[in-house]
Amino acid sequence: MIGDASRPVLEIDVAARFGAFRLETRFSSTGLLTALFGQSGAGKTSVVNLMAGLARPERGRIVVDGRVLFDSAKGIDLPPERRRLGYVFQDARLFPHLSVRRNLRYGMTRVPVGERVYDFDRIVDLLGLDPLLERRPAGLSGGEKQRVAIGRALLTSPRLLLMDEPLASVDAARRDEVLGFVERMREQLGIPIVYVSHVIEEVVRLADTLVLMSEGRVAAAGGVEELMNRLDLRPITGRYEAGAVIAATVRAQDEDFALTELEFAGNRLRVPRIDLPEGSPIRVRIRARDVSLSLAPPERTSVLNVFAGRIAEVGAGDGAQLEVLVDVGAPLIARVTRRSVHDLGLAPGTKVYAMVKSVAIDRHSVGGRGSAADGA
């Protein structure tokens, strides 16, 4: 569907006004999954509504997959029903008077048979909807509703899928399941997705391209690994879960100790066993609070992963803790006390050893295009 990696899936340059809120957004994305990330009120949903045609920009241009949906200069403004974008709403918005089957077929039957890309049974199968088909939306759980909403949108054979915080009304316990469906969808169907979220874990797990939004503007846009490792974006990406995102490859399995050895930028990283074949690409996140620094090579320590590197940047701030960006071949972020920075004389250029206590595995495969190249 989208073969050419250099052509953007998505180009947006719009200005819009919603009451007192001004939105001026400009970005383009080549990634298969583009995440719009920001705090609530940053304008993420507004951008998605502008794309879908449910709100109208004052001026600008919206291009999806080479197709102009809106262009104020040329007087183009396609109505929502002609934009061919699937929209999965935060609150699912299933039609309460129709069964699940008729909800799923609502959009499908409005697409000419020759233009239907996905088979009804295939989507039902992919999303595990078979047991739900004859039920009414009111009797479904949050996760089931979202799966039906995803299926309903997919069956319109959209050129791109918009997902606005699809996990917001899903129980915490079922979120992983829905995320799994999103991953299967992008891998098996190869459909470009715009995914709105304010939860950084979801974004890191799913996204190829990340668009950081703040107060109606794009603060930064680019590959996930690249943006997540920038200290200056911390205020937007969030402090608590600060960490470096690293693209790695599975190198070897250590059966005796139930460990898996990963490789990134010439470094060896040992993590609890992951069931993946050698050579599999994987994205890991090393949280800043799990990284400590030492000036001398640590000896006789329980920490398995120690990397030598140089400090690239010391974050600003006057609180108790600071973030330090260390270049170990790939960027690594450490959270240390300001006191330690002072006592150890940590400054850009200082040679340090970074000790990594634990590693969060975010994605078992980097399937989309763009991110693997961007992050390396």
């Binding site: 109505p79 039609f95 309460p96 959009g107 009414r136």
Partner: protein, 236 residues
């Protein structure tokens, strides 16, 4: 009214009045329903210049004396009235002093009640669902018939029942516009009025009162039952 028939037997005049009332009310509701739905949708979903004026005009029969409505209809739809003359010239139709006129008077008087019930119901339909339908490829008219109208069915039903009941009871506008002609425009309330003005008419008046109450109760019960079915269909 002779001694041989039981007290509850209806005289031909009374039966006629009841049948006429039902026919007038039925046609009044049937013919005004599409307009009622259209106006309710305009008021619930559209912003246009003069909306307040339209809303006021629709609700006018609720607040002005029915006689005024009847008189205005008489002026507009009478043989020489601007609309009435056109109707006669083009279609050869006369409405004044006929049961059709009675249906028009009833429809106008019941219109605000019908519009109000439907409009409130449409306003409560989540616009998000209509947006969702658009993104799924439905055009505005398709959205209306597949989402908005089915979801406001309870209100449409309530509007129909209210309008029907109001039509059955219409008096002032009817008598002013189409007079009180037995068999043509003498509906149940008009017949009842005649009985109350006639010496010895008490028995007939009583029978009609009973009929009126029974009709109202049946209409209410039917609307309750239908509303429950509709609610079950849209919610569970």
């Amino acid at each position: 009214m002779d001694g041989q028939t039981p007290w509850w037997a209806l005289s031909p005049l009374e039966t006629e009045a009841i049948a006429l009332s039902l026919r007038v009310a039925l046609w009044a509701v049937l013919c005004s329903l599409p307009f009622g739905i259209g106006v309710a949708w305009l008021l619930a979903r559209r912003r246009f210049p003069g909306k307040a004026f339209v809303s006021g005009l629709v609700h006018l029969p609720l607040v002005v004396p029915p006689v005024v409505v009847g008189y205005v209809l008489l002026i507009l739809l009478g043989r020489r009235g601007p609309v009435g003359a056109w109707l006669f010239d083009v279609f050869g139709v006369t409405v004044v002093f006929t049961w059709k006129g009675a249906a028009i008077a009833s429809a106008v008087m019941a219109f605000p009640l019908m519009v109000r019930a439907i409009r409130l119901s449409m306003e409560s339909v989540d616009r998000g669902l209509e947006d969702a339908a658009r993104t799924l490829g439905a055009r505005p008219l398709g959205v209306f018939f597949s989402v908005t109208l089915p979801l406001s069915a309870p209100g449409v039903l309530a509007g129909v029942i209210l309008a029907f009941a109001r039509s059955l009871g219409e008096f002032g506008a009817t008598i002013t516009f189409v007079s009180n002609i037995p068999g043509e425009t003498r509906t149940l309330p008009l017949a009842l009025f005649v009985f109350t003005q006639t010496p010895g008419g008490d028995a007939g008046a009583f029978r009609l009162v009973v009929i009126a109450v029974v009709l109202a109760l049946v209409a209410l019960a039917a609307s309750e039952a239908l509303a429950r079915r509709v609610a079950a269909r849209t919610q569970s």
